[in-house]
């Protein structure tokens, strides 16, 4: 019986949240296929606690290759190890996160094992009868949803957009089996060396992984005004993003850019101010769960996709919103 695999990701010795989102996706598929769900972890310094948490979040099996040479992600080595595991264990499906890691590793492996791969899926299902993975993803700037399958190639492979599903609740009574696999020396590729990591200023987590993103556009007028949005982001527990305009004007750095030439995000809540809603920007936010827009122009495109819009001066609306949120917090206490 071939399993459904999800690829867990670890950063600084801790599992990333997206590992659990994938397990929740994989659980549904494995149940439908009446097979087991296996979480795969290729990393270094893996703790027993992490492995148990993968089981508590839905895995029946955990395959772990724990080796210092996998501590930092280097695609060549990870790809050698993963391709070998695929050939040995013949999984039905492999899901990875559409992160910088998943979107580098999976296309590399797909070539090696001659499998189809669908990028950045937002919906997955199993086709009745054929048991093929139906992979649905936005394309052409979010203008279409394409459903794709790979009828003759195995495993079925897809990367899944972070935040497009919720982790299952932690269930520490769940039972599962852990298999430790030794990495073969021949799979180590030493051509690429990781020299270090320069963390983002202000210790900001990637906007793709944030539950709440607060963004500003041209209407913010100048860099200093982003203080208002930083305060709102602080109140809502969110990260800061911006449009291409805001980045090109130097108000924010590129890692904050949302849209066609920046990042695509799916937060639970996206709040934007002074954003007109160009097609290019909308492509980056369309799969957000809830969109709130504040803009002076009642005809701004952004209101077409907003779940809640305020037509008004953002320099009046945002400070008042911040003040009221602050009040709510005080009353809450």
């Amino acid at each position: 019986m071939s399993y459904v695999w999800t690829l867990a990701e670890q950063s600084n010795g801790r599992l990333r949240e997206v590992s659990f989102e994938l397990l929740s996706r994989g659980r549904k598929l494995a149940d439908k296929l009446e097979t087991k769900l296996c979480s795969l972890l290729l990393a270094g310094n893996v703790s027993d606690e992490a492995l148990r948490e993968l089981i508590a979040r839905g895995a029946d099996e955990v395959y772990v290759v724990d080796d210092p040479r996998l501590n930092k992600f280097v695609v060549e080595t990870h790809s050698n190890v993963l391709a070998d595991l695929i050939r040995r264990y013949k999984p039905h499906t492999i899901l990875a996160a559409a992160t910088s890691t998943g979107r580098t590793l999976m296309p590399h492996v797909a070539i090696k094992v001659t499998a189809g791969l669908t990028a950045d899926c937002t919906e997955l299902d199993i086709e009745e009868g054929t048991r093929l993975l139906l992979q649905t993803r936005p394309a052409i700037g979010g203008n279409i949803m394409a459903t794709i399958k790979s009828p003759n190639h195995w495993p079925q492979m897809a990367t899944v957009r972070p935040k497009s599903s919720k982790p299952l609740p932690l269930d520490s009574t769940r039972q599962g089996h852990i298999t430790r696999i030794t990495m073969l020396d021949e799979h180590y590729d030493d051509r690429v060396k990781v020299l270090g990591l320069r963390p983002y200023e202000e210790g900001l987590a990637g906007i793709e992984e944030a539950d709440v993103v607060v963004a500003g556009g041209k209407g913010m007028k100048k860099a200093e005004n982003f203080g208002l949005l930083r305060e709102l982001a602080r109140q809502l527990g969110g990260a800061i993003g911006g449009t291409r305009d805001a980045v090109d004007r130097g108000w924010l750095t590129y890692p904050h850019q949302i849209g066609l030439s920046g990042k695509t995000i799916s937060p639970k809540l996206y709040v934007c101010a002074g954003v007109s809603g160009s097609i290019q920007h909308l492509a980056g936010i369309k799969t957000s769960e809830c969109i709130v827009a504040i803009n002076q122009d009642p005809d701004a495109n952004i209101f077409q996709v907003a779940d809640f819009g305020i037509v008004g001066n953002l320099f009046e609306v945002v400070p008042l919103l911040n003040a009221k949120l602050e009040n709510c917090k005080k009353e809450g206490k």
Partner: protein, 265 residues
């Protein structure tokens, strides 16, 4: 420094039409441009050539009309352009495309560096760059935002990851996929446009590459499109006006109630 840059011709994003029957893009009558994200790769290649000498070759797999994109790249300053075109390539997914491109690159020349855009704005997969690296067994860095140093035998780059900028060192030849932060694409000059008009593209067919036909086009593509859906674009959300003090106050209160109801605060 000899650099190869595979590019893609894409429809202008503001002008996309779909055939509802076949679920494929209608390319006729739609303005086509160089994939905007490939421009950053082209600019990076041109800057490296200016600093280190050598040549920049662009190539694309596509219909004959894709010659226009190659000419634009020549007008920007690229030295050579290769059109990889054949009916047999039609309908290729990222697996078959990266196979064809990697075989063509092998035939076109010997390169120190291959640069691609992060992804194309139409297919939006970002899978072809890593795919070419896998086929050619080249060291790969994706999401590259900066080249720290480059010498004949190696390169140090920074790549944008979730936590920050990861710094990688690798030998050449290598393949980099680059993001917007790496460069500011130049516009074609008048002189460049003249050169492009006079330039004769090199064209390569499937036969010339002696390719495995089972790996080409729709037939060689593991993935198949089952159906295309048109997502609801408008959400028909609530719209409130916040003009004047009273309206402003009530608008913000309504928003807070909305967020509370959705359990977002």
């Amino acid at each position: 420094m000899n650099i190869c840059i595979p590019i893609k011709q894409v429809p202008e994003t503001s002008d996309v039409k779909m055939d509802k029957e076949t679920g494929t893009m209608i390319r006729e009558g739609v303005a086509s441009v160089i994939n905007p994200l490939d421009l950053y790769a082209i600019e990076t290649g041109l800057l490296l050539r200016e600093q280190h000498g050598g040549s920049v070759t662009v190539c694309t797999m596509g219909p004959p009309a894709a010659a226009k994109a190659l000419k634009e790249a020549i007008a920007m300053g690229c030295d050579e352009a290769v059109l990889i075109t054949d009916k047999k390539f039609a309908g290729a997914d990222t697996w078959a495309t990266s196979y064809t491109l990697s075989e063509a690159i092998k035939q076109v020349g010997s390169f120190n560096l291959i640069l691609t855009g992060e992804r194309a704005t139409d297919g939006d997969t970002g899978q072809v760059g890593p795919g070419i690296a896998a086929w050619l067994n080249l060291p790969l860095a994706t999401y590259v935002s900066k080249i720290d140093s480059i010498a004949a035998d190696g390169i140090v780059v920074e790549r944008l990851v979730e936590e920050g900028y990861q710094i990688l060192e690798m030998p050449l030849p290598a393949l980099l996929t680059v993001v917007k932060e790496i460069s500011n694409p130049r516009l074609p000059t008048l002189q460049g446009k003249k050169k492009a008009r006079a330039y004769t593209l090199r064209t390569i067919s499937a036969e010339a590459l002696a390719l495995d036909e089972g790996k080409l086009g729709l037939r060689g593509s593991p993935t198949k499109v089952v159906r295309i859906g048109y997502p609801k674009v408008t959400r028909g959300g609530k719209l409130v006006k916040a003009v004047g003090e009273e309206a402003l106050n009530s608008a913000v209160d309504t928003l807070l109630d909305f967020l509370k109801e959705k359990k977002l605060v």
